[in-house]
């Protein structure tokens, strides 16, 4: 057994008991990256820093990897876009400050779809990341690098961001646990924005208990983020007395039941329903007619409207890629942006601009903000009837990279249907491992809770994990 194979809580215990040193642990993880990175391309930047800021912190000596849309002072941060060039932020994102203050050591910045726009991790200026369970397949996205890094044993946990499923879907495809907290639970300060009202940072890990540990570090009020929660504290500690689903109601969404699921996902749903019933939970149905039918359009309308304004700042004047010989300002902006942004980002900028034009704004953008109200109301009603909602985290298993071209853009958006309503309503969602299919690919599902029910969802996740077992570390293309 190699040190990198340990789960987060095992590493913490081992370091504390001095079974091994932080240096040995970091070396083991670095060696793992050395052997797999050429297969996976999960990282944009590798770091060999071994400095531990807080030797007595809860994560002292534990290596981690951040999605490369999270700002790290003096360390290149790219959002996987050419337009940021070699930008080194002059400040740290709050989440990185919290992890570092807890003693964690940053050993890499993970690949993503450019500006987190995508669900394959192939739309990166730094090349595609491969799924560590089958390197001919995508890891999912946009936080594909963060998910792959945890699945392949680079690190015991990593951070991603989730705007419409960007944590939960790759977690499912890579066979790890991924958690999208309630909007406002984790500070967004220093996260390069895509759709600001939808974006949320969250962790990946190989056990739910490990997610709890990371959430206990991240879930703090941050005055730098006006959407950060203020009122109370949330308890993410591991507590066996809370691992009980007896009498809990777990709902399936009625409107999704007519959808044809891939057999492996349908089987997983049956398996988990059985586990939940065995645990004494009651499986019910809730109806979400607006959510199921209008979320997709609503989500993309809002995400693109916000995205195009978030990306207006990239003009080459203050940071990032630029040109020196433009004859005029307009030419400079056009050259910087036309070269700097990839095709998917350009689509979304133009779509967002189009939707918010004075002539179309009410019809599309304002209407979408109203549909969002209905979506949130519908979820709120549903959570008066049920404790959790159970549904897939992805509509299919990981696609082959060479088959992606055949998928139409908008078709690929539909793949997010199970995850993006959660972002519209700002809900917490856990993507959890259920087992492997016939191709030995992992299959994940999703548990959704009411706003601020984050600790309860993770406890439910542990109950399920106790039945399914935790995922194995993927071999990352090694034989």
């Amino acid at each position: 057994m190699q040190l990198y194979e340990l789960n987060l809580h095992e590493m913490i215990e081992g370091l504390k008991a001095k079974k091994f040193s932080a240096d040995e642990l970091l070396t083991s993880c670095q060696n793992r990256i050395d052997s797999l990175e050429k297969n996976l391309n999960a990282l944009i930047t590798r770091l060999d820093d071994k400095k531990i800021s807080n030797p007595s912190g809860i994560l002292a000596g534990v290596p981690t990897i951040l999605k490369d849309n999270i700002c790290t002072r003096d360390i290149k941060t790219t959002a996987a876009s050419k337009i940021l060039g070699e930008w080194k932020p002059p400040y740290d994102a709050t989440v990185w400050k919290l992890l570092r203050d807890a003693g964690s050591v940053l050993i890499g910045k993970a690949n993503l779809d450019e500006f987190a726009m995508g669900s394959s991790c192939t739309k990166s200026a730094y090349g595609a990341t491969k799924n560590p369970h089958d390197i001919s397949r995508v890891p999912g996205g946009s936080s594909g690098g963060s998910a792959a890094a945890v699945a392949a044993g680079y690190v015991p946990f990593s951070l991603g961001s989730d705007t419409g499923g960007s944590i939960r879907q790759p977690a499912s495809l890579c066979g790890v646990y991924g958690f999208k907290p309630t909007y406002g639970m984790v500070s967004r300060y220093g996260l390069i924005s895509y759709g600001s009202s939808l974006d949320q940072i969250g962790p990946f890990a190989r056990t739910v208990r490990d997610l709890q540990i990371v959430m206990s570090v991240l879930a703090h009020h941050d005055e730098m983020d006006s959407s950060s929660f203020r009122e109370k504290n949330y308890d993410f500690s591991y507590d066996e007395s809370k691992l009980n689903l007896k009498g809990k109601k777990i709902a399936l969404v009625k409107e999704f039941q007519s959808f044809n699921l891939e057999p492996s996902i349908a089987n997983a749903m049956d398996k988990i329903k059985k586990i939940l019933e065995d645990e004494g939970a009651e499986i019910i149905e809730v109806s979400l007619p607006v959510v199921s039918k209008y979320s997709l359009a609503c989500y993309y309308a809002l995400a693109m409207s916000e995205a195009h304004t978030n990306l207006e700042r990239y003009d080459g004047v203050r940071y990032g890629y630029t040109v020196q010989d433009a004859s005029g300002l307009k030419e400079m902006f056009e050259r910087v942006r036309s070269y700097g942004f990839g095709p998917e980002v350009k689509y979304r900028i133009i779509a967002g601009t189009c939707l918010t034009e004075p002539s179309r704004c009410d019809e599309y953008y304002v209407a979408a903000t109203k549909v969002r109200t209905l979506v949130a109301q519908e979820f709120a009603r549903a959570f008066t009837q049920t404790d959790f909602i159970l549904q897939p985290a992805a509509s299919s298993k990981a696609p082959k990279i060479n088959e992606l071209d055949q998928i139409d853009e908008l078709k690929s958006y539909e793949a997010d249907l199970y995850t993006l309503p959660v972002n519209l309503a700002g809900l917490p969602g856990l993507s959890f491992f259920t087992g492997y299919d016939d191709d030995n690919l992992p299959v994940g599902l999703q548990l959704i809770g009411a706003r601020w029910s984050d600790p309860e969802i993770l406890n439910a996740g542990i109950v399920i994990e106790n039945h399914t077992g935790s995922p194995k570390i993927a071999n990352g293309g090694l034989n």
Binding site: Y91, R188, S226
Partner: protein, 486 residues
């Protein structure tokens, strides 16, 4: 054929910088007296990942400024993103309340051409951030033709209030009165110093013309006015220009024109103004203002200058002109009232403040806040005049000594050689004896009875007064002199 008449229809937009220590969305200082790009941070530089945080004081000042315009505070307002590409705008959009403002529905009173009061309605005041400043390297500093521009982001994120009027203004004169009155009221509210020379107040005007034959000209937006004078001239120019076109049967184009202060003309903007509908600023939840906060603000809202002037006329019996002059500057009016409160007679205090105090402030280019004679001291000086202890002439001498040499009232009186309470009794007698001794011929003339008109007596009296440096009462001198001569 009757002569055509034209009525100008003018709306005015004003940007005012609010008085705060820090910028609207970050903790950078608002002091601009520093080298370029010194007071900057990830937020006001629009760096990726940074998020805005609203300054409490900006909201407070916005409420006060709104109340100064007779507006109602809105319990819920929202911020939006207003997009355009320009290098002084680091995020490529400006965060502004535009559609859902913090205060709305007010008015400012001005005098129309007949001297009657009329209300210019204020549609709303909204909060927004300022942009950076551009320096152009063309030799004449102009925007157009400059080969290179330099951007300084110290101003980026300064708190602004944009005040939008209804199109109720009918002349350049009304426009100037509107902005002058508005400025005075806003300064009074404490929301802004509105220092014009520091660019703390900028104007845009929407000018269109209504013709008596039923024709309406299109609205022209005139930008780039930074002084009352420029506003007046720009509107006058635009009225003339549009009238001429309409008289010739031409069409007014709906366009944006820039005021060229040096040439005194407006010119059509070559840049296509592109206004996109705003999206909600997703990083700032709605601004909720409680009734409690509104009440608290109302309680601290000061008496407005026009109300105050009216009170001075009624309560203190000042002339309207004097009342206007005193209330023009809140600090000056506060000074005056403090004098009155310390016991000075109001009319006399008003006179002293308007003449002597303002004279010194002008001479020394001081502000009343840094004037070294306290209202209490001035009141005491005035009280001594009224008590007949010193003459008005002496008082002015004392006043000058107090301010020039930084003396207390008593020190100043002493330094001017004035004996408190005047020269009486033996002191006065000995001066009289000395004067008589030095003027035997005059004494002889009086004694001879030739001085029937009392001319010589008056002459001696004058010499005594001179010797006492005016510190004796003429009445007493006359009595004592007569007594000494008999």
């Amino acid at each position: 054929m009757p002569e055509l008449e034209f009525t100008p229809v003018i709306g005015i937009e004003i940007h005012i910088r609010l008085k705060t220590k820090t910028k609207i969305f970050c903790s950078c200082s608002t002091n601009t007296d520093v080298p370029p790009n010194t007071h900057v941070c990830p937020v006001c530089m629009g760096l990726p990942g940074s998020l805005p945080r609203l300054n409490y004081e900006v909201v407070q000042q916005g409420m006060l400024a709104g109340m100064a315009l007779n507006c109602e505070v809105q319990p819920k307002s929202l911020f939006f993103r207003k997009s355009y590409f320009y290098p002084d705008l680091p995020k490529g959009h400006q965060i502004s309340q535009c559609d859902l403002p913090i205060v709305a529905g007010g008015f400012i009173e001005v005098h129309d051409e007949n001297g009657n009061l009329k209300k210019i309605r204020v549609n709303h005041l909204h909060l927004e951030e300022d942009v950076g400043s551009l320096h152009h390297s063309a030799s004449d500093g102009r925007l157009e033709g400059a080969a290179i521009s330099y951007v300084d982001y110290n101003r980026s994120g300064m708190p602004l209030a944009e005040i939008v009027s209804e199109p109720d203004v009918s002349s350049a004169k009304e426009a100037v009165e509107y902005v002058t009155t508005l400025r005075r009221r806003v300064i009074y509210s404490g929301a802004s110093d509105v220092e014009l020379e520091k660019g703390m107040m900028r104007f845009d005007a929407n000018v269109s013309m209504k013709c008596s034959d039923g024709r309406w000209g299109r609205k022209v937006e005139v930008k780039n006015m930074n002084s009352f004078h420029a506003l007046e001239k720009a509107i006058e120019y635009e009225i003339k220009r549009q009238k001429k076109i309409m008289l010739q049967g031409g069409e007014i184009l709906q366009e944006t024109r820039h005021w060229n202060d040096a040439k005194g003309v407006t010119t059509a903007s070559r840049v296509k103004e592109f206004y996109r509908k705003f999206i909600v600023e997703p990083d700032l939840p709605p601004l909720i203002i409680s009734q409690e906060w509104i009440d608290k603000t109302k309680a601290m809202f000061p008496e407005m200058p026009d109300v105050r002037a009216r009170r001075y006329v009624n309560e203190f019996k000042l002339t309207p002109e004097a009342a206007d002059m005193l209330t023009d500057n809140k600090a000056l009016a506060d000074y005056f009232e403090a004098c009155v409160k310390a016991g000075a007679e109001p009319v006399r205090a008003s006179h002293w403040v308007r003449t002597e105090v303002l004279r010194i402030l002008n001479e020394k280019a001081l502000k009343i806040d840094s004037f070294n004679i306290t209202p209490d001291s001035l009141a005491n000086l005035i009280k001594r005049i009224d008590a007949g202890k010193i003459s008005t002439t002496q008082a002015k001498e004392v006043f000058d000594a107090m301010t020039n040499n930084n003396l207390s009232l008593d020190e100043a009186i002493k330094s001017c050689g004035i004996t408190e309470g005047g020269i009486v009794g033996d002191a006065l007698s000995s001066i009289i004896q000395k004067v008589i001794a030095e003027n035997p011929d005059v004494l002889a003339e009086i004694k001879s009875g030739k001085d029937t008109k009392g001319k010589k007596l008056k002459f001696l009296q004058g010499l005594v007064m001179k010797e006492t440096k005016g510190q004796a009462k003429p009445q007493e001198v006359a009595e004592a002199l007569t007594k000494a001569l008999n």
